[in-house]
């Protein structure tokens, strides 16, 4: 262990800058991109919102970047050495943040495309064996504890990029990876439709993820097998 006296001695040093001993201060790297409260930002790259997402989901994503299942070089570099305990603590910080959603733009699409999007989200597409998104992401699409994230309030670009990553193998999760299965079953035009419809919905007043027992997944998902998630 690092001698505590040494640490305190350092902090008490007269003309040195003073630094709060808080998690928020420690994770300056993360908050530069994702915002101090995990509100997310669009700044060339799209830095997703983290605030209020389920803890186990966030922890698992950090592990997936660490293992190279999910690809984005600056994230992989930042998390490469973090321990499971530290990642969990950081995930808890972001999961507990409550900040309003920012509205983001939706491309101008024909009403029929949005209707198609709504249809896939609420009823799925049996001809391509696509289950309704609501079956796992919850009736309100605010996600379900502890491992399914919400789909409301996400920008159009982010949703379509993530579904695209599952198809190209730059995003993966614990096997069997149900989202990869679903993204590959969706027709490319349906990805546009689904992303556009989701991004154009207004965010409900209560965005908390629903309880785990609110859903019965129509497909097997590795992350839902052990309900403890990745932690």
């Amino acid at each position: 262990m690092l001698p505590l006296a040494l640490l305190l001695g350092g902090l008490a040093h007269a003309d040195a800058p003073s630094v709060p001993d808080t998690l928020q201060q420690r994770i300056a790297a993360c908050t530069t991109c994702h915002g101090v409260h995990g509100e997310g930002a669009q700044n060339g790259d799209l830095f997703p919102r983290l605030a209020g997402k389920p803890v186990a989901y966030l922890t698992l994503q950090l592990q997936n970047f660490q293992r190279g299942l999910r690809k984005y070089a600056p994230m992989e570099y930042t998390v490469r050495q973090l321990s499971p305990e530290y990642m969990h603590e950081i995930a808890e910080y972001f999961a507990a943040q409550q900040v309003p959603y920012q509205s983001s733009g939706v491309p101008n699409l024909a009403p029929s495309v949005l209707q198609r999007g709504q249809q896939v989200v609420t009823s799925g597409d049996p001809s391509r064996q696509v289950p309704p998104c609501q079956a796992c992401h919850g009736k309100q699409l605010t996600g379900t504890q502890p491992s399914v994230p919400g789909l409301v309030g996400l920008p159009y670009d982010y949703i379509s990029a993530q579904l695209g990553s599952w198809r190209t193998g730059t995003r993966g999760s614990k096997a069997p990876d149900c989202m990869s299965e679903i993204a590959n079953r969706l027709a490319p035009t349906d990805i546009t439709a689904v992303a556009a419809w989701l991004a154009s919905q207004s965010v409900p007043a209560d965005v908390h993820p629903q309880a785990a027992n609110a859903i019965t997944p129509p497909l097997r998902c590795g992350v839902l097998d052990s309900q403890g998630g990745g932690a």
Binding site: L6, G10, L11, A16, A28, A29, Q81, E85
Partner: protein, 429 residues
């Protein structure tokens, strides 16, 4: 690029032929002089296995022989070299894909002589050029540990090298030029601690594989050991490790070196880039007496010649002034206006070896990438630095890096915008 490379072929082949002859004329297989029955008893001894586990950690075998997110020691991680990519093979006890069917003699030939089980020459991306210093007793312990690992049935990938480097026999030439097999010989004029430090640094710790300049053929010859060098392809600069006059670690105390290797932080600087991996997976686990031995040895490295200051190709004053403005706005909160940092939280930039190293790569990449200080048992919840790749232009990074290289007591050459542009696109590994 391709045509330039092909010009080398006839020359390389000529060297191969000559060196192949030299090699056969000059090598005799070294034997370990330990009786076979003693070896087989040692391989099953739990105390030997435990020692092997420690030594494998000192040598960081795992970080090369494990893929990102993969089974430990099951291989698959690709070591990039200027000559192509060389995957590290499976070295678990799996009989098919690992070293399960290897005898200790097979292993000794690999570790000590860089020769594979079928007699093939191994590429020096496997640092046998350092591991050759390992004693037979230590080699047995490491082998015993590998044999105790659960088998992982994962096939090893073939190397992806360009001609002529994909012909393993070309390595005979390389070996003749650069490889001297031989177990470490203690220096009787030095203390036992010093000798232990030298053994660890030159041998299992393979510090020189990064901390010395390689020439065009990837050899480590002609430069003083541990005098610093740029790591090819990965583009980081591993600084000179002398603590004496003009050394890269000038002024470092024994405690500073021990702190850095054990916790990833010291009063002189923080480990980052590849050194953060070395600390995270290897040196933090070293026993205190081994860390002290390493520090004693490094402190005995000689003083270095004073670098003749290169005449600046341009007037860097305006650049540094612009850098000062950026520094005050973006960096001073953590690193201090005076560049002194904050003990055990933020590294000092004044006198920092990675700010001062000759190339400027480390400081530029630290600013682009940001990141956490190494996570170690001594620092389980490290602080971090924001990445500036998304916020600062190449010109701004060049300015702030030039400023920190020339502020306070620092006097290092300026960094130019075009260098930063290149580092921005270096793959992260």
């Amino acid at each position: 690029m391709k045509s330039v490379r092909l010009l080398w072929v006839p020359m390389v082949l000529l060297v191969v032929v000559l060196a192949g002859w030299w090699w056969h004329a000059h090598t005799t297989e070294q034997s370990t002089l330990i009786a076979t029955q003693d070896v087989s008893a040692m391989l099953k001894d739990p105390a030997v296995i435990a020692k092997g586990r420690y030594l494998a950690t000192v040598s960081d075998c795992m970080s090369c022989h494990t893929q990102q997110g993969g089974e430990p020691y099951a291989g698959g991680r690709v070591i990039p070299t200027p000559f192509g990519n060389i995957p590290a093979p499976n070295i678990t006890s799996d009989p098919e894909h690992g070293v399960g069917r290897w005898s200790f003699d097979d292993f000794w030939r690999a570790l000590h002589s860089g020769i594979g089980r079928s007699g093939e020459r191994l590429y020096p991306a496997f640092p046998y050029t350092s591991f050759t210093k390992t004693t037979p007793e230590d080699a047995i312990a490491i082998f015993a540990y590998l044999q105790s690992l659960p088998p992982a049935a994962q096939a090893s990938e073939p190397p992806g090298l360009n001609f002529p480097y994909n012909v393993r026999s070309t390595l005979n030439a390389w070996r003749a030029l650069y490889f001297k097999p031989g177990v470490y010989k203690p220096d009787p004029a030095q203390s036992a601690e010093w000798n232990r430090g030298a053994y660890l640094v030159q041998g299992l710790g393979h510090c020189d594989e990064c901390h010395a300049q390689r020439d065009a053929l990837g050899g480590l010859q002609g430069n003083a050991p541990l005098s610093g060098g740029q790591i090819p392809v990965q583009d980081w600069y591993a600084p000179d490790l002398s603590t004496q006059a003009n050394g890269g670690l000038q002024g470092w105390t024994q405690q500073d070196i021990v702190d850095l290797l054990k916790t990833g932080q010291s009063s002189k600087g923080t480990a980052f880039g590849p050194m953060a991996n070395v600390v995270g997976s290897s040196t933090q686990y070293l026993h205190d007496d081994d860390l002290r031995a390493i520090a004693i040895y490094l402190q005995s490295l000689p003083a270095r010649a004073k670098l003749v200051p290169v005449a600046a190709s341009f007037d860097s004053k305006a650049l540094a002034d612009h850098g000062h403005d950026i520094y005050v706005k973006r960096c001073a909160d953590c690193h201090g206006e005076n560049g002194a940092g904050l003990a055990n939280v933020y590294p000092p930039l004044d006198g920092n070896s990675s700010v001062l190293e000759p190339s400027g790569i480390n400081a530029a990449r630290a600013v682009l990438l940001g990141g956490f200080a190494p996570l170690t048992q001594g620092n389980p919840r490290p602080y971090s630095m924001p990445p500036y790749a998304q916020q600062l232009s190449d010109a701004d990074v060049a300015a702030v890096v030039t400023y920190i290289r020339q502020a306070w007591s620092n006097h290092a050459p300026a960094v130019e915008e075009r260098d930063v542009a290149a580092y921005r696109h270096t793959p992260i590994d």
